[in-house]
């Protein structure tokens, strides 16, 4: 009885290991997703922006709703090393942080910068963070996906 139980247990364990070995996905570590220069994108009439160079196209309608703005002339977009997208525009109060998913950009964080709106913002890629420059005031903010650093 014990022998039969041990044999069954061994077979189950072997099958389990085989199943785990066959089903595991390959993971590449330490990927640098950083985009060296921000993209300055002009929305079309449907509030779609298209970054031809880095190959991304999406609607900013929901972001504009959240900011309570009808339209903007330009949207500034940059991706940090971890792969999060940072989005803002002239007059926005916040920087929006998104992570890429299957045909989606999922909101990761909304970083409040100024209640009066950022004027002439620009993103710079820095070694460990994204630098946001308010070119009107000259103020800079160091950001990552978790918020201000």
């Amino acid at each position: 009885m014990l022998t039969k139980y041990l044999t069954t247990f061994t077979v189950i364990i072997a099958l389990l290991f085989t199943a785990i070995g066959c089903g595991s996905s390959m993971v590449i570590q330490d990927v640098d997703f950083s985009q060296p220069i921000e993209s300055v994108l002009t929305p079309d009439s449907d509030q779609m922006v298209h970054d031809q160079r880095f190959g991304i196209k999406f609607s900013i309608a929901k972001i504009l709703d959240r900011e309570g703005i009808q339209s903007v002339d330009e949207v500034r977009l940059i991706r940090n090393r971890a792969g999060y997208y940072f989005i803002t525009a002239d007059g926005f109060n916040n920087v929006y942080v998104f992570e890429a998913a299957e045909r989606e950009l999922k909101k990761k964080n909304v970083i409040e910068i100024s209640s009066e709106g950022i004027s002439s913002p620009a993103f710079n890629q820095r070694d460990r963070y994204i630098e946001l420059v308010d070119r009107a005031s000259g103020q800079t903010y160091n950001l990552d996906q978790t918020g201000r650093r």
């Binding site: 060296p36 220069i37 620009a122 710079n124 103020q139």
Partner: protein, 409 residues
């Protein structure tokens, strides 16, 4: 006082620190996107200015500005490289510099050519002024010749002066043509093409001067009175030389100085040359006919070098034929008249101009000389003394024979 000094030092230190922080903040406030945009804009503007530059001085300034751009943006080369990938900062600046250098080299050549054009312009001005002056002198002399018809000696002196004026013009034009020959016959293709690009701004290029000269020659041939055969022969010789030079450098001149319409320009000059020849010939054949007639030599009609040569040959052939038939003193006189005129005037005075003017070739003249010798032999009248001596000899021989016969009987 001491307190004030210390306060001032502190204030100055604070101010300096403030400026250092403020300036570092200003540097930090730059947008990478803006930097690369500025670089692209400045580079595009510089490239455009290189394309539009019109002098080496402008291109030298651009060289400095490119160097300055390289200095100012080199610290951002990583950002710029990322922004303009697959192009790079170094490659784009180097390309702009290479382009600028190529333009500078081209403009250096153009400026050299411009200097040559300026020289040519100056030469053309001098030449045109001299030709105009000669034309005025000619017209003045022509007027004087017409006004002094009453005084033969005065008219003869003026005509002499007029001839000298024409000879001077011929010599001056010949020097000009020699100069053109030397310059354009040996000019290499690249210089010739380069010069063609810059001659548009010449007020009076050699092609136009050539047309002016030919027009002046046509006027002289058409309007001059009081000239004689040697003068017209000289004009035809000058035409022959002009045509020869044109044949050698005409294509180069039209391609250099009228590159937009070379065929038409060449045809214009050739039409003028033909008109000049027609004007000279119109006077020349009449003048030659008159000269031969005045020396009692009635040549057949002629209106071209070929028919003139034929008329001369027919005259000599006819003389030989008559001399062979009649062998009279009169034939011999006709022969001698022609021989003297041929040797002393046609060959001695006109020979060179006849050959240079393509009227008679050396071989044509030599052929007449040979025929003239035959004519001389045929025309030489046989002496009557010989005939009398012959009769006397026959009579003496007959007398001797009769005497011998009588003696033997």
């Amino acid at each position: 006082m001491n307190f004030n000094n210390q306060y001032l030092k502190l204030y100055t230190l604070f101010l300096a620190l403030f400026f250092i922080f403020a300036s570092s903040a200003l540097v930090a406030q730059q947008s990478d996107f803006q930097i690369q945009q500025d670089f692209r804009a400045e580079m595009a503007a510089l490239n455009e200015r290189v394309e539009l530059a019109v002098s080496t001085q402008e291109l030298e300034v651009l060289e400095e500005e490119l160097a300055s751009l390289r200095d100012r943006f080199s610290e951002y080369s990583a950002i710029i490289n990322a922004a303009i990938y697959p192009d790079t900062f170094e490659a784009s600046v180097n390309r702009a510099e290479d382009n600028r250098a190529a333009f500078a080299e081209r403009y250096a050549v153009i400026e050299q050519l411009n200097e040559r054009v300026d020289d040519l312009n100056a030469e053309m001005d001098v030449f045109r002024d001299r030709i105009n002056q000669m034309t005025l002198e000619s017209e003045d002399l022509q007027d004087q010749i017409e006004r002094s018809a009453a005084s033969e000696s005065r008219q003869a002196a003026l005509i002499r002066q007029y001839r000298q004026n024409i000879e001077l013009r011929d010599s001056f034009v010949s020097d000009f043509l020699e100069e053109l020959l030397m310059r354009y016959q040996t000019m290499d293709r690249s210089t010739h093409e380069g010069l063609a690009e810059t001659t548009g701004r010449m007020d009076d290029n050699p092609l136009q001067v050539i047309k002016t000269i030919i027009s002046e020659y046509i006027n002289v041939a058409d309007q001059t009175s009081g000239l004689e055969t040697p003068d017209y022969l000289g004009m035809r010789a000058q035409h022959g030389y002009f045509s020869d030079v044109w044949g050698r450098i005409g294509d180069r001149l039209v391609n250099t100085f009228d590159p937009d319409r070379p065929v038409q320009a060449k045809q214009e000059v050739e039409d003028l040359l033909a008109a000049w020849l027609a004007s000279v010939d119109n006077r020349l054949w009449n003048s030659l006919t008159t000269a031969f007639n005045q020396n009692n030599i009635q040549l057949g009609p002629f209106t071209s070098p070929q028919t003139f040569n034929t008329a001369l040959n027919n005259y000599v052939d006819g003389g030989i034929e008559i001399s062979l038939e009649s062998n009279s003193e009169e034939d011999y006189r006709i022969y001698r008249n022609f021989r003297d005129f041929w040797n002393n005037t046609v060959k001695a005075s006109w020979g060179e101009a006849l050959v240079d003017g393509n009227i008679l070739s050396q071989s044509d003249i030599a052929a007449i000389d040979i025929k003239l010798n035959s004519w001389g032999e045929a025309a030489q009248p046989t002496s009557r003394l010989m005939f009398i001596l012959f009769l006397v000899s026959v009579a003496v021989i007959l007398g001797l024979v009769i005497l011998l016969l009588m003696k033997s009987k």
